[in-house]
């Protein structure tokens, strides 16, 4: 059916933009977007001016992973300079409705904590002030009392019966539990020679665009209408969620996007709860409110890909043919099931057999909530999680059956003559020739040479391995796939959902110049350039003649729920729809031209800026003259032509049907193919992984702009290298977030990012107008597991978990690190069981008798002098003190409010000191037992043993520094106490130290 054409896109063999004639599609013309971006004239969200009087928001966030909010005191913040409004959960709840949750369950989902926080970073209060600096000042004045609850961060722990429960409306922490059966998996497993299984956990990560979220919201009480400008990326199905949450009809929520957006990769879908939050704040403040997310907020609380625990088993024949798969997936969506989750789990539902011809399948899908940031769209969206399990399993099959991994891949591929191929779970693989793609990949990518490199390296004793992956890359999501999470009965009740409406408008102005508008909301993918190529080809113009606008304004533009930039839908759906819109106008213009040129419409061609007769090229008229006629002289148009001014096309492929009653779902329209292999070397000493060579073979159908396709592949590959080797949104067992800066969440730089060798093949899709398929997400699916397979090959490992940081590989290679030798008496601090509990003990000797030391411990003035960084101590009762302290941990210095209580008093021998400290940067709590023993010569030995825990932002920033810092601070306390006691005479009166402090103003 499809004619495959090899198309190696070396960057030098065609000078981009050198051609001056069409057809333009297929040429790497210069991007129309670039000149403004290169000269600082981009118009990103925060580059656009705002209405005078616009206010600025800052958000107070939870330092706790799971806690009840006992009280929020905003009085001081409301009095602060510049503050116009302070809103907490109750205020927002009064102005909005709960966000829709994607499963049928009686749970609520608010854009701010209402009564309880469920993840570190969850919004607790919003301050609206005249500038951002003042808003942040006021944030520090809000006092929140929390009652912590136990937290759960591991999805497999979350489904245990004794796990802390996040939401009462779910069954435990399970939001959804569905079982699927396709073909006869039981029979296949019973009859197969082997059952081979793998357990994997896929970590949390995010594509982290360099531009963060930003929006400006305004509310007009006269019309009860909101106007929001946000760097949201779609899908615009979310518009319905937003208007419902803001309690207005859709036509009273005008949602617009700025001209430029600084990367998204799915992530900017996750801005939508903030749209509700800031829009409600604007309503409360009575003025427009702007909010720009900062990087720390973004890393902690924007959105994350799901982490997933999967057990995957295959029924395998003796020669490595996979007869059936048995999937058991436990998907971790974080603390709330925000729209469109649990879509990550179902996006790949039709593709659970990957590139393979597997007719029988059993699936159990569980969706669980944990005390982590809610999840959402991220490049690859479900693909990395699925293929990490499937392609690790294929490698394991090869190892267990002593086969070549590439043989196991090729033996199981969908046959080349089977397209269009319906998978067991319902996807329609539209076109391809996987065998040919692999053959070319092996030859052009020089696999034989790579194997020789590996063998040579191994001969020298180096750790070198090769990994392979073959994946199907789905694109253009069926808006109905998510309903596969519902039972057929629930679906019948809810009504059918399916399709993928793409829209494009082509318009011609009075002088015949052409404009195009699409609701595609790009974030750097060059949509404007490609659309100018596509439409120029239809009209016989140059791309420079066509001006394209990709902003969206839901009040004025053609759009649908499927609008936006996700699921790699631009090239297959949006660009094709623009072609259809242009062709409709061209068809009518051909009739206009035919009547002017005295010929038939089918004799008309558009070329070189003219409309002319094919048979008689001299019989012609300029494009602009024909094109403008509908404006100037509609009466001169032939009967029945209508107008040629503007045409909007809505296109949805008929192949995207709703799930059937047996849960078959064609989850995506197009399916590209990728075959990757790579050679990696792991350093024997440092266990650092170096990618020696990476080959990636793509068949994404017809290529519209070769350089942009390669750009998408390189960009996806770089993010996948990060996911494989460096990136993880890491949490402590108590739910504290450990990777809150770009110094902790490590993104690959140019040094860590090799250039992949890219090979192309083009098997056009029969189901898209231009024959193209999506290409942007594939390497995020194929590359992490390909690198993991290579590293396991290098190290001879059975199991492996991403990211492949040296410490993890060291554990795998050398076994877990030995526990440090049992402590020196004193200050060794141990982390036990992965929690952030710090334990230690120590001793200090002072030259004062125990009675005096005892009195000092109970004296606010002494405590003020000896607590490091203490500004004030307030005595609440004889055994309860409040203190304000400034503590610096690493580079992060912050003000904390501490509560210290004394208990188990045994004067003057022993006392237990318990306390908590909370501040904008985090919280800590601990308890210590202090024992006083008289020593010879009238002194006292103070022995202390303590247990402390630190969490919140400070834990994420200073994770590695915490142990040492805690030790130092506690040490300082006792050293100061000793100094204070030793410096004073046996009687009363301030110590020398205290006198000096008084002299120099008292504050540290």
């Amino acid at each position: 059916m499809a004619e495959a054409a090899s198309h190696a896109l070396a960057s030098k063999d065609k000078v981009p933009g050198s051609a001056s004639v069409g057809p333009w599609v297929g040429q790497s013309i210069p991007r129309v977007e670039d000149s403004s971006l290169l000269t600082g004239r981009g118009r990103f969200m925060d580059d656009i001016g705002v209405h005078p009087g616009t206010l600025h928001a800052a958000i107070l966030r939870s330092p706790h992973a799971h806690a009840d909010i006992i009280s929020i005191d905003t009085a001081a913040a409301k009095r602060a300079q510049g503050v116009v409004a302070v809103l907490d959960g109750a205020d927002i709840k009064a102005l909005t409705s709960s966000l829709v949750v994607g499963v049928k369950a009686p749970v609520e989902c608010w854009p701010i904590a209402v009564g309880r926080v469920r993840y570190v970073g969850e919004a607790v209060a919003v301050v609206v002030a005249t500038d951002r600096y003042l808003a942040e000042d006021a944030i520090d004045l809000i006092e929140v009392q929390y009652q912590p609850r136990p937290a759960v961060v591991d999805p497999l722990m979350a489904i245990k019966p004794d796990a802390p429960v996040l939401h009462d409306g779910f069954n435990g922490n399970v939001a959804s539990d569905r079982v699927f059966r396709y073909g006869d998996p039981e029979q296949a497993f019973a009859s197969a020679a082997h059952r081979i299984s793998i357990d994997i956990t896929y970590p949390r990560n995010s594509c982290t665009p360099i531009e963060t979220y930003g929006l400006v919201a305004d509310y007009d009480p006269g019309e009860d209408a909101y106007d929001v400008l946000a760097n949201f990326q779609g899908p615009f199905s979310i518009h319905a969620v937003l208007s419902r949450a803001l309690k207005v009809p859709g036509n009273r929520l005008r949602l617009r996007t700025p001209p430029d957006s600084g990367g998204s990769f799915g992530v900017k879908q996750g801005i939508f709860p903030y749209i509700v939050l800031i829009a409600a704040a604007a309503r409360a403040a009575g003025r427009p409110v702007k909010w720009i997310e900062d990087r720390l907020e973004h890393l902690t609380a924007s959105v994350s890909a799901t982490n997933r625990a999967t057990t995957l088993s295959a029924a395998v024949t003796e020669d490595g043919r996979i007869l059936a798969l048995d999937w058991d997936q436990v998907e971790d969506c974080g603390a709330h099931l925000r729209a469109p989750e649990p879509a990550t789990l179902y996006r790949m539902h039709g593709n659970l057999s990957g590139a393979y011809d597997i007719r029988h399948m059993a699936v159990r899908n569980r969706v669980v909530v944990t005390n982590k940031t809610p999840t959402g769209l991220n490049r690859g969206f479900g693909g990395p999680q699925v293929y990490f399990a499937l392609e690790r399993l294929v490698q394991r099959i090869a190892i267990e059956l002593n086969l070549d991994p590439l043989d196991v891949i090729t033996r199981n591929l969908v046959p080349a003559d089977a397209f269009p191929y319906r998978t067991a779970s319902g996807a329609l693989l539209d076109s391809g020739n996987y065998q040919e793609a692999i053959r070319r990949g092996v030859v052009e990518g020089k696999l034989a040479e790579l194997k020789a490199r590996r063998d040579a390296a191994r001969t020298e004793g180096r750790l070198y391995g090769i990994g392979y992956t073959a994946v199907v890359e789905p694109s253009v999501s069926n808006m109905g796939y998510i309903t596969t999470v519902l039972t057929p009965a629930e679906r019948r009740k809810a009504g059918p959902k399916n399709g993928a409406q793409a829209t494009a408008t082509v318009a011609i102005d009075p002088v015949g110049s052409v404009s195009v508008h699409v609701a595609s909301v790009p974030q750097g993918q060059g949509h404007r350039t490609v659309l100018s190529q596509v439409v120029a080809d239809v009209f016989g113009l140059t791309p420079g003649d066509v001006r394209v606008n990709t902003e969206i304004d839901t009040a004025k533009d053609a759009w649908s729920i499927a609008s936006g930039n996700y699921a790699s839908r631009f090239a297959p759906a949006v660009a094709g729809t623009a072609k259809l819109a242009a062709e409709r106008i061209a068809g009518r213009l051909a009739r206009v031209a035919a009547s002017q040129l005295n010929t038939e419409a089918d004799d008309i061609i558009f070329a070189g800026g003219q409309v002319r007769s094919k048979r008689n090229p001299d019989n012609k008229v300029s494009f602009s003259r024909v094109a403008g006629l509908s404006h100037w002289s509609p009466g001169a148009l032939p009967d029945g032509v209508g107008q040629t001014i503007r045409e909007t096309v809505f296109w949805t492929p008929p192949e995207l049907t709703p799930p059937d009653d047996d849960d078959h779902i064609n989850s995506s329209l197009c399916h590209g193919f990728i075959f990757d292999f790579c050679g990696v070397e792991v350093d024997r000493t440092t266990l650092q992984t170096r990618i020696d060579r990476y080959v990636t073979m793509h068949d994404c159908g017809t290529i519209l702009h070769p350089a942009m396709v390669d750009g998408q592949i390189r960009g996806g590959f770089a993010q996948a290298v990060g996911a494989a080797l460096y990136e993880e949104y890491a949490y402590g067992a108590d739910g504290s977030f450990l990777t809150g800066t770009l110094a902790d969440y490590l993104l690959p730089t140019v040094i860590e990012t090799p250039e992949p060798f890219i090979i192309h093949m083009q098997t056009p899709s029969p189901v898209t107008p231009l024959g193209s398929k999506g290409v942007g997400e594939g390497n995020c699916m194929s590359t992490p597991v390909c690198i993991a397979n290579a590293v396991t090959d290098a190290l001879g490992l059975r199991d492996i978990t991403l990211p492949l940081v040296p410490a993890k590989l060291a554990d795998a290679v050398h076994g877990a690190e030995r526990v440090a030798p049992a402590g020196r008496a004193g200050d060794d601090i141990q982390k036990q069981g992965g929690d952030r509990k710090l334990r230690g003990e120590g001793e200090a000797k002072v030259g004062a008798p125990a009675e005096q030391v005892w009195a000092m411990l109970l004296d606010p003035e002494t405590l003020k002098a000896v607590i490091p960084g203490c500004h004030s101590v307030q005595k609440v009762s004889d055994t309860h003190f409040r203190a304000d302290v400034t503590i610096g941990i690493g580079p992060v210095k912050g003000l904390y409010r501490a509560n210290v209580k004394l208990s188990d008093l045994d004067p003057p021998h022993a006392v237990t000191l318990g306390g908590t400290a909370e501040g904008a940067l985090g919280f800590g709590g601990g308890e210590g037992r202090i024992t006083l023993t008289p020593t010879e010569g009238g002194g006292t030995s103070i022995h202390y043993v303590y247990e402390a825990a630190i969490g919140g932002k400070v834990a994420s920033i200073g994770g590695r520094l915490l142990d040492g810092a805690t030790r130092v601070i506690i040490g300082q306390f006792f050293a100061a106490l000793a100094r204070q006691a030793g410096g004073g005479s046996a009687g009363s009166g301030p110590s020398l130290f205290a006198k000096l402090r008084g002299l120099f103003g008292g504050q540290r």
């Binding site: 960057s11 981009p16 933009g17 790497s28 210069p30 991007r31 977007e33 670039d34 000149s35 971006l37 290169l38 000269t39 600082g40 004239r41 981009g42 990103f44 925060d46 580059d47 951002r132 600096y133 594509c207 982290t208 665009p209 360099i210 531009e211 963060t212 430029d260 957006s261 600084g262 990367g263 990769f265 900062d294 990087r295 720390l296 974030q523 750097g524 993918q525 060059g526 350089a707 942009m708 390669d710 750009g711 390189r714 960009g715 590959f717 770089a718 993010q719 800066t741 770009l742 110094a743 993104l747 730089t749 140019v750 040094i751 990012t753 250039e755 992949p756």
Partner: protein, 172 residues
């Protein structure tokens, strides 16, 4: 050194892209916010505000610097160059910018201004760099779109072109 009052706005006079410029800033105001929202040059972008991503890199007195780690009041008397200075004329691109466009060395363009400024200040001092040096300079920047390879190519091409231009100038 004079002591600045925390609550007051202070005069900041400096040279921006060759022209005198002045504004007022509280001592805590970041240079990024000052340039973007008080002076109105928005080409310099903010990506992390903790000095890692490099998007806000500008040229201060000939040295590349993170504007997000600089206070506005610190640049009093300094010479600043931002991405707005790189084009020789409206509607034209400089050598480095043109090389970026030719090589598709940008996608979303958000990190690009910082990268251009780092490379521009570097190439002024090091007219004939090898690839390793270019990569070393670029390692101070995060780009999430391109995978870096086209940026390296663009920088090398620009360096070669600039070296040719210099040679012609010297020969002439």
């Amino acid at each position: 050194m004079s002591r600045l009052q925390a609550k007051h706005r202070h005069d900041v006079r400096f040279t921006l892209n060759g022209k005198p410029c002045a504004g007022e800033a509280e001592p805590r105001l970041l240079l990024t916010d000052f340039l973007r929202h008080r002076i109105g040059v928005t080409g310099t972008h903010v990506g992390c505000e903790h000095g890692v991503c490099g998007a806000c890199t500008i040229d201060i007195d000939g040295q590349p610097a993170r504007a997000c780690l600089t206070l506005a009041v610190q640049i009093d008397g300094c010479e600043l160059r931002t991405v707005e200075s790189l084009a020789p004329a409206a509607g034209r691109l400089g050598v480095l910018q043109a090389a970026f466009k030719r090589n598709h060395a940008l996608q979303c363009g958000f990190c690009t201004a910082g990268i251009l400024m780092s490379l521009d200040t570097f190439l002024r001092e090091h007219p004939q760099p090898d690839e390793e040096k270019i990569r070393d300079v670029l390692s101070g920047h995060l780009c999430r779109c391109t995978g870096y390879a086209p940026i390296v190519r663009a920088a090398l091409e620009a360096a070669a072109e600039l070296a040719d231009q210099n040679r012609e100038k010297t020969d002439a």
